[in-house]
Amino acid sequence: MTDWATESLVDTAEAIAKGRTTSRAVTEACLDRIGRLGAGLGCFVEVDGEGALAAADAADATLRKGGPVGRLHGVPLAHKDMYYRAGRISACGSRLRQEFRPDYTATVLERLDAAGAVELGRLVMVEFAMGPHGYNANYPLCRNPWNPEHIPCGSSSGSGVAVGARLVHGSLGSDTGGSIRCPAAVSGVVGVLPTYGRVSRFGAMPMSASLDSVGPLARTARDCARLLTVIAGEDGNDATSLPAAAPDYEAELDKDGPLPRIGIARGYFDEGLHPEVRQAIDAAVEDLKRAGFAVRDVPVPVDLMKEIAEIQPVVMKAEGAASHMNDMRQSQADYTFEVGHRLHAGFFVPATSYIRALKLRAAYLRAFAKAVFADVDALLTPVLSIPVPTIADTTGKRGKDYLDMVVALTRNTKVVNYLGLPAVSVPCGFTGNGLPTAFQLIGRPLAEAALLRVADRYQNVTAWHLQEPSFAEFAVSRP
C-alpha cells in the first residue's frame, strides 16, 4: 500500500487528480505522521487537523463533481509561520506576536489556495526570521530529522524539517541570507531562492525589505517547479514585484534545447571547504557531466564577494532594526537574547552607510554577472562549507568565535541575496556525521527555470533526494 506522505508532491497531486487516491487519504497520512513524529521534531507551531480534513473533503467533493482542478488540488502543505491569513494568528516565531491576527491574506497563500492546496498548520521559524541555526527559544527545540542533536538551520527551520521528515509535501520559506537554502540543504530537500521580486512578499512578515525573497522547499526540483509556477508572478500589492510574466517552470523542465552550461565556482565559495563537503561536491560535478551538462571552472571575483559578504549585514541589520525599534524600546524582554542582540546592532548603522550599501548594489550585480556568467548559465557552489553543526556547538555561546561560526553558516548564501539573483539548493550526499550536504546553483536574474532544469536532471541520475531519515536516533533523544 502506498504511503502517500512519503510520495513526491507532483506524484501525489497527479494521483489525487486522476482518482488513484483522495485528498482525505493523503491528508490523513500526513496527519498520522505528524502525530507520530511532529512533536519530537518540534517543527509545527500549530496543526490544524480539523481544518485540513475539511479542506481535503471539499477538494474531493470538487473532484467528484468534475469541478476545476488546480495544480495542487488536495495536496497538504504547511508554511513558515509568517505568511498572513486574514483572521488567523501569525506569530512570526515571536512572543510579541503570539496573538497577532492580520486582517489580510498573503498573495502567495491566495495563489496556493487558488491552486487547491490544503494547509495543515503553521511551522516553526526563527524569531522574526533573524538567525541561521534554526531553533527558537520561544518553542521546544526544532530538530534536524537526520539527527536530533544537529541543527535544522534557519530561519525556515520548520519548513526544512517538515518536508525532510515527510510530514508535508512542500512548504514556503523565506530567504534573506540563506533561510530557504540552508534548511533545505541540512534536511536533504530542495529549496529555491527566487530572483528578488519574482515572488510577491505582500502579506509576508518583513525581515529586510531589500533582501527578502519568498520561495518553496520540497523533496524534488520538479516539486519546487510546480510550487514556484503557482506562486511566482507580478503582484500589484508588492512594489518590488518585477514586471515580468512567470513561465510554467514545470513545463520548462521537459523542454528540448541546449542544456544550461555550468560553472564550478573557484575562489571565495570553496575557501575553507571541509574535505567531506568537497568530496560530495566533486562527485556531484561528475554526476552532472554524466547527465550531459557542459561543466567548466569559473574564477569568482574573490575581493568583490568578500565586500558583498561584509556589506550585506549592513542592509539586513539596518532594515531589521527600523522595523523593530518601537517594540524593542517598549518590550525588549519579549525578544530572546540572541535576536534582541542581532537587532540591537542595527540601531547604530548610520543612514549613510546603509544607503551607500544600497547604492553599490547595481554595480556589484553587473560586475558579478560579467565575471561569472560570460560563458556559463549557472554557477555551482557548496551551500554550507562545513558538515551540519550540532545544537550544542551553536547554543549558549558568546564572543567572536561564536559570531564567526554563525557568520560562516551563511557565507555562501547571503551574497546571493544582496545580488538579488536566483539560486537553488540541491542535496548531493552525506558527510561523515550522517547529515545531508548540498550544492547551490546560482543563476542570472529570472533564470529560475534553467536552475531547476539542472537540478531536475541531476536528480534523474542520482538518488540522494530519495533517501529518507530513519528517525531511530530521534526516538531515543526525544525530549
Binding site: T195, Y196, G197, T240, L242, P243, A244, E307, E310, I311, P313, V314, K317, M325, M328, R329, Q332, G340, H341, H344, A345, F347, F348, V349, S353, I355, R356, A357, L358, K359, L360, R361, A362, A363, L365, R366, A369, F373, D377, R398, G399, K400, L403, G420, G443, R444, P445, L446, A447
Partner: protein
C-alpha cells in the same frame, strides 16, 4: 578614526536607540559594530555619486533580458 568601544556604544544607545543595554551585550556590540563600520569604510570609495539605490531593479531586468538573448 577612533575605534568603537563600550563607552561609545553606550553613548550612542542613550542618545538614539534608547534601548536597555546590558554590559555583556555592550561588549559584543563593540565587536559587531566595528566589523560593520570597517565593511562600509572599505567600500566607501566605490560608491558612485550618481548611483541610485533603485538602479538595482533596472540592472536586474537588463541582465534578465540579456540572459534571454544568449
Amino acid at each position: 578614526m577612533k575605534r568603537i568601544d563600550g563607552a561609545l556604544v553606550r553613548a550612542m544607545n542613550d542618545a538614539g536607540a534608547g534601548i536597555a543595554l546590558s554590559e555583556s551585550r555592550c561588549d559584543e556590540l563593540t565587536i559587531e559594530l566595528e566589523q560593520l563600520r570597517a565593511a562600509t569604510e572599505s567600500v566607501a570609495t566605490k560608491v558612485v555619486f550618481d548611483a541610485d539605490p533603485a538602479d538595482f531593479r533596472v540592472a536586474l531586468m537588463e541582465l534578465a533580458k540579456e540572459a534571454k538573448r544568449d
